[in-house]
Structures are given as structure tokens and as C-alpha cells.
């Protein structure tokens, strides 16, 4: 008997240690996110994000970085099954920082029954970096080798202008000879690319040997198609040979393909990884990636990049009064207004529970502040209809600008955040531009509580 007990206790200890040392985070929670069991790696990964220093609730612990977990679980209708599988959660913009800080977590949620959910949490920072490089290589091979049925081939001068028209351009895009001398940005919707972006891609082609972009393009008749645009610099020898045909000489070759049929799959994959479940806006990951790319580009070609951080005023009161569905309706309503107000080239993201951010490429502070002020005014005048009631909601906004790329994503967002809290302190329902003497973030918690 004693032997049996001793053996059982040894087995129990071995099992406990197995769970302690499993190199992946494991959590069991209930439908409200309350944590019943958790292993050490999960605590290691989650503790740095816990606002209250506790780990009682997984949704609360992750609310700043994965605000839509609660609604994702709530909306999962099946009795059991995978709610999400390897969902990427971006923690920080990756501007260096502490050595041990993971940047990207993968979260898998498995619903066991109505009351129990298992979560697997893993630090996949390095893995994603490797895959990203691999995907770029794949994209290049894919663009070059596969599925080419028709394409437009054009030469561009050093400024990205079409050197000459040819029938392939007419076939794919419908543009006639009048296209000659215009910049290749003409193939993009007017608010989907800035002149600076168009030049960036030429510079990237110089640096990397090629630049590839997939996005919505327009034909001459205004109809949209999903296009893959590849730009590659021409070898020096070809440039000289072409001098006659093109004023400044052909410097790049542009290959444009209509990939509309492939687009559905690619777009779905992109949306899943880069968009917020509840609002359909970009998520933190998409915002951080776009911002760090824009800042890197503006180091090479200096221009202002504006950042607006927006927070719904008294959102907790909305949730308390109308419940989470009411709060969700407000967030969706705000998302729709944001998409309407900003350009296609701007990146509109939900970055926290009731916090949004917008990256505005090639936009100065005065213009961004003006947009933010108009946004505040519009939201205040546009109540949300929910359950037969009109919920009036206001927002506060903080605006800042990076004059060139020599500022990190984290700092840019922090500055906008400080301006946001200055706006809150000044009475809400307003936009404030960042000034170095803005209130310190420490004051933030005091205001959060109101």
C-alpha cells in the first residue's frame, strides 16, 4: 500500500515537472476567459502584458495586444473545435528593446465544451522572421515562373515614367498611347499610392534587384483588377541601347499581370493575418509592419509621416450600460467612419480594446491634426443605432509626426499616445498634437480610471 502511494506520488511529481518544463504555453480557461490552469511558459509570455499584475483572466491579460479574443470565442458557435489556429499576435514594433522580449506570439484556442477552452501560446518571433524571408523568395519565383498567361511589359525612366506605349499595356490595362510619359502610379487608384511610394519602389528595386507588389489596380475604363506589379532595374547595357526611345533613358522594366483569379486566396490569407476580427480594420501587426516600412522608406526619401491614435471616450460606460454587444457596435461604427475619412493609402488599425491608430504617409502635422479634428466632430454628430437606441459616442485623438524616418515605431506611437492623453485631460472629444512637454504616460492610469 505504502509502496503504491509512493509510486503514485513519484509519478505525480514527474507529471507535474513535465508540465512545468513543456517548452510551450498551456492554459485552460472558461468561456469568460477565467484561467483555471496555466503552465510556467504561459506565465512567462503573458506576465509582461498583464496590466493588473495578475493572471486570472486570459482575455484581460491579452486585451492590449489581442483585443478581439473575447469576441472570437463568443462568436464561435460550434460545441467544440478550434476557435483559432496559430493566430499571430504582435506585441511590440520590434525596435530592439529588451533582449528577452518576444515580438510575436502564436495563439491556438481549442474549445472543449461550453465551459472549457484550452489555449496554446508560443513565442514564434524567430520562426516568423525566417518564414517571411522564405515567402519573399517564393513570391519572386511565383511571379517569374508560374501562371503567366498575359502580362504588360513596359520600360520606365529613372523617375518611373512610361518610356513608350506598346500593345501589351493596352491589352492588360486598356490604356492607349496617351499613357506614354506618365508615371506608373497611374495604374493605381488615386488615393492608394503617393508619389513618394511610387519612388520608393524604384529605390527598392535598385537595392534588392526587384520590387514586387500585389494590390488593386485600375484599368483605363475605371474598372478594378487585382494586379501584380514587378519592377526591376535594367542592366546598364540595356539602358544605353534604349536611349533613343526614351528621353532620359529606360532605367527599369515593369511587368504587370492581372492576377484577379488568384487574388481570392491571397487576399483571404492576408486578411486573416493582418486584420482585426471584429472591425475588419488592420490589426496591430499590420500597423507595426506598415509603419516600420514607411519609416524605413522615409529615411531614404525624407518626408513627414503622421500617426493619429484614437480612443473612444468613456467606453467602459458604454460597455457597462449596453453590454459587450453594444460596445462592439460602437467599435464597428467607429471603424466604418475611420475607413470613410481616411485614404486608401493610410493604414487604419485597431490596436487595443477601444483604441485605434492611423498611419498617414506623406502627411504633415497640420494636415493630420485637421483631419483628426474633423473626425472628432463627425463622430460626435453621428450616433450609433443599437437595439433601437442611439448611442452617442465621442472620441479623443492624439496626433504626431515623424519628419524623417529617424524615429522608431514605438516612439511614434508613444508620442501620439501622450497627445491622446493630453486630449483626454483637456476634456475629451478633441484632437491634440504632440508636444515634447505633453503629459507623461504615468498620468495615463489616473485618466484611464475615469
Amino acid at each position: 500500500m505504502t509502496d503504491g502511494l509512493a509510486q503514485l506520488s513519484a509519478e505525480y511529481e514527474a507529471l507535474i515537472q513535465f508540465l512545468y518544463l513543456a517548452p510551450v504555453g498551456l492554459v485552460q480557461l472558461d468561456a469568460d476567459g477565467e484561467i483555471a490552469m496555466i503552465n510556467p511558459i504561459a506565465a512567462q509570455l503573458l506576465m509582461p502584458h498583464s496590466r493588473d499584475g495578475g493572471l486570472d483572466n486570459l482575455f484581460v491579460a491579452l486585451q492590449d495586444v489581442a483585443p478581439d479574443l473575447r469576441s472570437q470565442c463568443g462568436q464561435y458557435a460550434a460545441q467544440s473545435g478550434k476557435i483559432c489556429d496559430g493566430m499571430h499576435v504582435h506585441l511590440h514594433a520590434g525596435s530592439g528593446g529588451a533582449k528577452r522580449m518576444p515580438q510575436i506570439l502564436s495563439i491556438t484556442l481549442l474549445k472543449l465544451d461550453a465551459r472549457r477552452i484550452m489555449a496554446v501560446i508560443d513565442d514564434i518571433t524567430e520562426q516568423v522572421r525566417r518564414e517571411c524571408r522564405q515567402r519573399q523568395n517564393d513570391a519572386w519565383l511565383n511571379a517569374v515562373l508560374t501562371g503567366i498567361t498575359d502580362y504588360a511589359l513596359a520600360s520606365l525612366d529613372a523617375e518611373g515614367r512610361l518610356c513608350e506605349w506598346n500593345p501589351s499595356i493596352g491589352r492588360v490595362t486598356g490604356f492607349g498611347p496617351e499613357a506614354e510619359g506618365r508615371t506608373y502610379a497611374m495604374f493605381y487608384p488615386a488615393d492608394a499610392i503617393t508619389p513618394e511610394h511610387a519612388r520608393d519602389r524604384l529605390r527598392e528595386a535598385d537595392a534588392d534587384g526587384w520590387a514586387l507588389d500585389e494590390s488593386r489596380l485600375l484599368r483605363a475604363d475605371g474598372t478594378a483588377f487585382w494586379g501584380s506589379v514587378m519592377i526591376a532595374p535594367l542592366p546598364e547595357a540595356d539602358r544605353e541601347a534604349d536611349l533613343g526611345a526614351c528621353g532620359d533613358g529606360a532605367a527599369y522594366c515593369l511587368i504587370l499581370r492581372d492576377v484577379t483569379d488568384k487574388r481570392d486566396i491571397a487576399e483571404r490569407r492576408r486578411r486573416e493575418a493582418f486584420s482585426d476580427h471584429l472591425t475588419g480594420l488592420a490589426n496591430r501587426r499590420a500597423l507595426f509592419e506598415a509603419t516600420s516600412q514607411e519609416l524605413a522608406r522615409s529615411r531614404a526619401a525624407p518626408r513627414p509621416s503622421a500617426m493619429i491614435v484614437i480612443d473612444a471616450d468613456h467606453f467602459k460606460a458604454v460597455n457597462d450600460r449596453y453590454g459587450h454587444p453594444g460596445g462592439d457596435a460602437v467599435l464597428q461604427h467607429l471603424a466604418a467612419i475611420l475607413l470613410d475619412v481616411f485614404r486608401e493609402v493610410d493604414v487604419v488599425a485597431r490596436i487595443g480594446g477601444e483604441e485605434f491608430a492611423v498611419l498617414l504617409p506623406s502627411t504633415d502635422l497640420a494636415h493630420a491634426l485637421d483631419l483628426a479634428e474633423r473626425l472628432c466632430a463627425r463622430v460626435a454628430l453621428d450616433p450609433v443605432s443599437f437595439d433601437g437606441q442611439a448611442i452617442v459616442c465621442t472620441i479623443s485623438a492624439g496626433v504626431t509626426v515623424a519628419l524623417d524616418g529617424h524615429v522608431g515605431v514605438d516612439l511614434l506611437i508613444k508620442q501620439a499616445d501622450q497627445a491622446l492623453y493630453a486630449a483626454k485631460r483637456a476634456g475629451r472629444n478633441r484632437a491634440v498634437a504632440f508636444q515634447s512637454e505633453c503629459i507623461d504616460l504615468e498620468a495615463r492610469e489616473a485618466i484611464d480610471g475615469v
Binding site: 503552465n39 506565465a43 512567462q44 529588451a98
Partner: protein, 127 residues
């Protein structure tokens, strides 16, 4: 004089304790050397975690014993203190996963230049 969790200059007193003394304490004591291998694991901690000292002593603390502390809040602080040759005596609120249950604790982190043993002390917080 009784040894309590928040006594000043605690490391020196712990250094002087026998393992029986340490086993009498009502808080957890984990001591580890310059290579992070665990050298001290008292009864309170052993009981709370459900692991006997034999499974723990000699193992690297942050990877094989308490991986939940392997982040900038705990492990990094010890590493920084060692690198900067500075003393560390900080108490932080933390959550340990004792027998896979989240348990709120206060951790006191002790490290001083020249001291062979560094300590993580664990006190359970009232619920």
C-alpha cells in the same frame, strides 16, 4: 532573531542558515549560483511547487526549474545586475503557476557583487 521575508540585508542571513533553518521559513527560498544552477531549494517552495529538492538542485533555474521567470521582469534583472556588477534587491508582484494554478506572489530578487548565491524569495499574497 526570526527571519522574515522583508528583512533588510537578508542575503547575508540566508547565507548563514543551515538547510534545516531554511526549511523552517514560511516563504519560499530558491538560491542559485553564478551559472544559474540551483543550490538552495527550501521545504516551503518544494511543497508549494510539488517538486522535491532532488529534482531541482543542480538544474539551471530559468530554463529547467522556473521557466515562468525567464523574462525581462526576473531573469533579465539578475543578468543586468551581474553584468553591471551592481546589487539587486527588488520586490515585485508576480504570478507563479504552482501545480498549474495561477498564484499571486511577491518575489524578492537578491543579488550582490561578490556573493556566490543569488536568491529568489517567494511569498504568497493573500487572496
Amino acid at each position: 532573531m526570526t527571519i522574515v521575508f522583508d528583512l533588510p540585508d537578508l542575503a547575508t542571513r540566508l547565507d548563514a542558515c543551515t538547510s534545516d533553518d531554511l526549511d523552517q521559513l514560511d516563504f519560499g527560498v530558491i538560491g542559485f549560483g553564478p551559472d544559474t544552477a540551483v543550490t538552495v531549494y527550501n521545504a516551503f517552495e518544494s511543497q508549494a511547487a510539488g517538486l522535491s529538492p532532488q529534482r531541482v538542485v543542480g538544474q539551471p533555474l530559468f530554463t529547467n526549474v522556473a521557466p515562468c521567470m525567464n523574462n525581462f521582469m526576473v531573469a533579465q534583472r539578475f543578468e543586468d545586475a551581474l553584468e553591471q556588477n551592481a546589487a539587486l534587491d527588488e520586490t515585485i508582484d508576480y504570478v507563479l503557476t504552482l501545480r498549474m494554478r495561477p498564484v499571486k506572489v511577491a518575489l524578492r530578487l537578491l543579488s550582490a557583487p561578490g556573493n556566490a548565491t543569488r536568491y529568489v524569495l517567494v511569498r504568497r499574497q493573500p487572496k
